[in-house]
Structure formats: C-alpha cells, structure tokens
C-alpha cells in the first residue's frame, strides 16, 4: 500500500500526539493513584533521621529491606505512600520486631538510618496513639488490654490507668496510656488491636506529638523544681496572689482597696488609683437619636 505523503505525515503526527497525550495521562494517573494509595500509616525503619534529612540521606539502595530478617520493610514504588525507592513499613501488616542488633540500620551505607542508635529501645519510629475512644474496648469499660500485653516495653511504653466508669458507677475503666518517653513506635500494639480497624495507631512523631509554647511553664513543675511556691502565698484581700511578679519592670502592683459597697446602693467600681474617687453618675443617659429602623428594614434607596 502506498501512502500519500500528506496522509503519511498526518498519521505520523497523529500517532505522536496520541503517544504524548498517553504519556501525560499516565503521569497524571500515577500521581492520582499515589494520592489514593493509603494502605496504612507508613513508618520509617529504626534509626531513621528526621524525615527531611532522611530524604536527603537515603540513597534508595534497599539494603535495609534485604537485611530485615522478618521481611517487614518495603521499598516504596512509584505508587507507594512514600518517596519511590525509600524504605517503610506498615505497622498494621507487619510491625518492627525490634532486633537487638538492628540489622537494617547496620546495613545502611549512607547513614540515613543513623548509627547513633545503639539500643533498639531508643528507636523512635513513631508514637502509638490511642486514637479512637469510641471503639477501644477498654474505653467501653471492658478488659481487652491486648495492646498493653503485646507491648515489648510493657508498663513503660503503655500503662493501664484507672478512671471512673460513669456508666456503671461502681467499676473502673483501665485505659491503655502511651508514654512517649518509652514508646519506640514498633507498631506491635497497632498490629494486635482486636478491632476491625485498629483504635491504637502508630503515627509519625511530628503528627503524634503536641508541643508546648517555649514560654510556657507548668506551675506545679516550677514549684517542684524550686522547692517552694514562686508566688506570694496570699494577697491581703484573701483571694488572689500578689501580682507584683507580672507587673512591668520597675512598677509595682497598685494597692487594692476593699470595695465600699453597701446594700441597695449603686456605685461604680472604685478606681484603683485613688481612694477618694467619686463617680459622677451610675446611669446612662437616654440617647437622643435612634436610627431610622423603618429605613433599615426596607433597605436604602
């Protein structure tokens, strides 16, 4: 078959355009697919640097994945929840078994899994959070305790704390409570949670933890550290502590006066500045002019 040159050119251009459009389509589709790929919370192996540094340091070689004796690490593909080629695990499927010799970290050639981690119990892969109080069996007053029982650092990373059971009035609820100073984020609790969807989940640290403002001080801690209360015990009026400590530098708090209030007598609040202040009036004069409500309801013409 002999093709007319114009037709040949047309077919060529058409093919090329279709291929180009398909290419763009695949890229966009992949991106969409990646956005949908939420198979669970993806966590980094033990010893991983903070996420931003990790992404700069990890050279995507997968040696940690091959080193894991329990085969729980995955190497992200283009469609994974993590950057392609980087290692992750999903606790609900297979949690970290916390090998004492940390083979994944030792296999890492780049330091993305940092050698600084000497003891697997110091790993911070994430933080377990008891997210759903509405389904957690212990929160219903039952004794499930499975997350607490499976925790490799039982009674350190997860403890059971008593609270009053308001439903029965005579029982306690034993609430599994995670402590961030001990939890490694291994994910054993999430994997073991007996619910269809785990009520306790390991979240990446930056999602899981709140952070107090830098200036914030907890009074009872300051008191404990100082060995005594930091504020004056009592104010002369018997109710409030002295606020001298909160006044601007060089000023001291104005002296409070007891209010001279007598029953059935209207007075203004006395000024703090002078004892002999006499209010001019305690009532408000009737306003001379009211806005034209008629106009407002009909709208301005």
């Amino acid at each position: 078959m002999k093709l007319d040159p114009n037709r040949r050119q047309f077919l060529k251009n058409a093919t090329r355009t279709v291929a180009g459009v398909c290419g763009v389509g695949v890229i966009l589709g992949l991106q969409q697919h990646q956005a949908n790929a939420k198979e669970g919370v993806a966590l980094r192996p033990p010893g991983a640097l903070p996420e931003k540094d990790f992404l700069a340091a990890c050279i995507r070689c997968g040696q940690c994945v091959q080193a894991c004796p329990y085969d729980m690490l995955h190497l992200a593909s283009l469609l994974s929840p993590m950057e392609a080629g980087t290692p992750y695990f999903v606790a609900r499927d297979k949690p970290c078994e916390m090998c004492p010799d940390i083979p994944c970290m030792n296999a890492c050639p780049s330091g993305a899994l940092s050698e600084e981690l000497k003891d697997i119990n110091d790993a911070r892969m994430g933080l377990a959070v008891l997210l759903d109080h509405e389904t957690c069996l212990n929160w219903q007053g039952l004794r499930c305790d499975v997350c607490y029982r499976v925790c490799p650092l039982i009674d350190k990373a997860i403890t059971l704390e008593n609270i009053h059971n308001d439903r029965t009035h005579i029982h306690a609820k034993l609430i599994p409570t995670v402590h961030s100073d001990a939890c490694t984020g291994c994910g054993k609790c999430e994997q073991a949670c007996v619910l269809e969807e785990a009520a306790i989940k390991v979240l990446p640290m930056d999602l899981a933890k709140g952070l107090l403002g830098r200036h914030y001080r907890l009074g009872w801690q300051e008191k404990q550290n100082a060995g005594k209360a930091l504020l004056e015990e009592q104010h002369p009026d018997g109710l409030r502590p002295s606020l001298d400590a909160r006044m601007p530098e060089g000023l001291s708090e104005p002296t409070y006066q007891h209010m001279k209030v007598k029953p059935n007598q209207k007075v203004a609040t006395p000024s703090r500045a002078a004892d002999d202040y006499v209010p001019r009036s305690t009532t408000v004069d009737a306003p001379e002019h009211f806005p034209d409500l008629e106009l407002n309801t009909k709208g301005v013409k």
């Binding site: 050279i59 995507r60 070689c61 080629g85 050639p109 780049s110």
Partner: protein
C-alpha cells in the same frame, strides 16, 4: 579501497550483510556479551534473595559486593551531597570506587554493559528500525548535561534527591531485585518515548546518569578504533545501529588530521558498530593507539 555503495543499506537490514559475510557469531558477539554482562549483574543481585547466595546486596543505586566492597551510583551520591548532607564513608567510598573504575575502563561502559535500561532502549531502537520509523521529534544531545545541572541545583534547593522519584533506571533495577510491578509504567513510558517520539531519546538525549558516566569516562582507556577508513564502503550499518551516531562521523569520515579513535565522551563502547560492519572497519583498542596518524597508502 572498497567500492562505495551506491545505495546504503536500509536501517532494518543493519547487520544483515555482516551476518551473511562473516557469520552469525561475528555479527552479534559484542551484543551477546553485553547481554550476558547485563543479565549476570541482575543475577548477582537476585542470587541472594532467590538462593541465599549473596553476591551483590542492594540495587543499582548502591550495593555491597560480597558484603565488603561498597558500590554507589555517583549521581545519587552527588545529589545527596548537593542537599548538604554528608553521607557515611561507605557511600562515599562506594562512589569513588565506581568513579575510578569507569574513569579508567571504558567510556560509558556502565550504560552498555551494566545498565538494565539499555536492554529496554535497545529493544525500542530495534523495533523502530524494523518498523521503519525514521523522522520523528529531535532533541539536542546536550540536553542530558543541562538536565544533570538542573537535578543537582534542584537537589540543593529542595533538600531532597530530586531525580529519585522519577528515575526510571533505578526503578527498573528495583523491579528486578524487589519486584515492584507499578514501577514498570515508567519503563514502559521510556520504551514508548524511544519508539515513537525521539530516536535513542532516553539514553542518547536525556539520561543524566549516562551524562555522569560520560563525564567520568571521557579519558578512559578502552575506545573503539577505526582500523582502516579505506575499507568503509558506506553501507551505513554502523550509523543505523549506533545509539550515538554523531561520534562516528569524524573518526570514520573526517580529514587526515582527525583521530581515527572514537574519543568522543558520548560513545558508550557497546561495540555494536564492530559487530555489524561487514568490512571489519572497527575494533576495540586503546585511546593511545595510532594517535600519530599515518596516512594509509594503497
């Protein structure tokens, strides 16, 4: 001197004449050796997971040979350094070993003898020749070096390894070692791109890893030599199979003063030109042979 052909061979018949004249093995020897080399690298990665015989641990981005010798892709190391992160010595030594090896051995020999993507793009080029797809879009050959600079600068700015999300070479390597099917889409796109959009598009125009190996191996020892220009009968088979045909022009058809050694850094030392030449014009040699040109008297 061989008589110049009045009509050059068709691209789809590249190598046919050599096969008829010199035999099947002669016309495919370096191609077969390269495929064996590429497949044996894959096998060295796979022997561990499959049979617990660990030769290479890791993948094409970084690996451990016999659990002792680190090997690291120079580009990914450079990206990591560009972000401001100083990797552990294992990574840096691995990159130095690779740089030294490919700087000495042969120009871009990683591309032709190791890289798994070469099999994909060679297949696309072969199919392109067989289907007679000739004139398509053109890209400048230096685009890969621009891309390389963009990737390194982008890594420095973004603080991440910019290239690694989309890197189809590493992705294909991971497919073999870690079996991740989804990544094959990227590889398929490179194949389609090479087949329909730009001839030798990926390896010859875009791949920044190839660009790095080009720079590394610019002064390497093993080079393809033109043994005897006079034997060339302009059948064009070498130009048709060569993924970087611009490197052939001067050594083969240049003036008396042009070197008859293919010194151009873009040559991937694949030896396919040696295979397909029915007149035995080419041979592997060193970069130093025949530097002083002696005029052929015939």
């Amino acid at each position: 001197m061989a008589a110049t052909k009045t009509t050059p061979n068709k691209p789809k018949d590249a190598g046919l004449e050599a096969r008829q004249k010199l035999g099947w093995w002669h016309a495919y020897r370096f191609l077969i050796l390269r495929r064996l080399s590429q497949l044996s690298v894959i096998l060295m990665f796979l022997s561990g997971p499959l049979w617990n015989v660990w030769i290479l641990k890791g993948n094409y981005s970084s690996s451990m040979l016999f659990d002792t010798v680190p090997l690291t892709d120079p580009l990914i190391t450079a990206e990591s350094l560009a972000t401001g992160y100083l990797p552990e010595w294992t990574t840096i030594i691995g990159a130095l070993i690779i740089v030294l090896f490919y700087a000495v051995v042969a120009s871009k020999s990683f591309c032709s003898w190791v890289c798994p993507m070469n099999m994909v793009t060679d297949a696309a080029a072969w199919l392109r020749r067989k289907l007679g797809i000739r004139q398509t879009a053109k890209l400048p050959r230096n685009l890969r070096y621009v891309l390389l600079v963009v990737i390194l600068a982008g890594s420095a700015v973004s603080g991440t390894l910019l290239w690694e999300w989309i890197n189809p070479v590493a992705a294909l390597g991971r497919v073999f070692v870690f079996g991740l099917g989804a990544t094959l889409w990227l590889v398929a796109m490179v194949f389609i791109f090479d087949l329909l959009v730009v001839e030798h598009g990926w390896c010859g125009h875009l791949c920044p890893i190839g660009a790095v190996y080009g720079l590394i191996g610019a002064k390497s020892l093993i080079k393809v030599n033109v043994v005897d220009r006079a034997r060339c009968d302009r059948c064009m088979d070498c130009y048709n199979v060569c993924p970087e045909p611009q490197v052939l022009r001067l050594p083969l058809h240049g003036s008396e003063t042009d070197s008859q050694i293919i010194l151009e850094k873009d040559c991937i030392t694949c030896g396919r030109c040696i295979d397909v030449c029915p007149e035995n014009v080419f041979a592997f040699g060193s970069r130093f042979e025949k530097q002083v040109h002696v005029k052929n008297i015939n």
